[in-house]
Subunit: 134 residues, 2 copies
């Protein structure tokens, strides 16, 4: 067992899980990522325009779920969670592809984030370029 | 703070961190993912040929590191970890794009995995298709 310690939080107009888009490219709004001071040095190279992968901890997920109807559509057969993007799963890590719009100290404005307001941020990684660009 | 509970382990010929490829598309070998019985129902739709995102917990990482020389190349300036794929970072979640080669019960054979032998597996997700395919 390992401990995940959040490094920040999502600030978003998305409050209601039922009304939130299912993926970032399905009409998700702009949002702020608000980081903790202790990780500031790690953020120094994040600049507007960067394409990043944001990892969150989906703290409202049900960790006991192993089978779901994809997209909550009961006409679709129940499917193992590891073949879906369901938030409900044993370790509910959210993976979001975002673009940085602005950086204001520990606050980073991003586009296209479907995570709910208050969702803990656990990691940020660059989208990998082709092998020659690394 | 949240608890990550591994759902399986990597079995790989990669033992030595210094000799491991840095990314899965840089010559990484085939490996097995060995899952725990309690998550078997969640794996039922994973089939050979599937392209998946594997999330691991990089248990040998240094969680206090915020600045690194990318790819351990000291000629490259020190860079904030959130703009690199360094394993060393506050929450060392590894993100790996893999292809399923074979499924044998709780053992799944995959290609192109740079994670070391014994690395804990924490989640598996499908690569998202275009919006119309979801």
């Amino acid at each position: 067992m390992y401990e995940v310690i959040p490094i920040g939080l999502v600030e978003s107009p998305l409050i209601d899980p039922a009304a939130a888009p299912r993926q970032g490219d399905e009409g998700a709004p702009e949002a702020w990522l608000v980081f903790e001071e202790r990780v500031a040095a790690g953020l120094g190279d994040v600049v507007p325009g960067a394409e990043l992968l944001l990892l969150t901890w989906l703290d409202r997920a049900d960790r006991d779920v192993l089978l779901v109807h994809p997209r909550d559509d009961e006409r679709r057969p129940r499917t193992g969670v590891f073949s879906t993007r369901s938030a409900d799963r044993p370790n509910p890590v959210g993976l979001h592809r975002i673009r940085v719009l602005a950086v204001e100290g520990l606050r980073i404005r991003v586009s296209g984030l479907e995570a709910l307001d208050g969702t803990p941020v656990i990691d940020v990684k660059p989208v990998l370029g082709s092998p020659g660009e690394r």
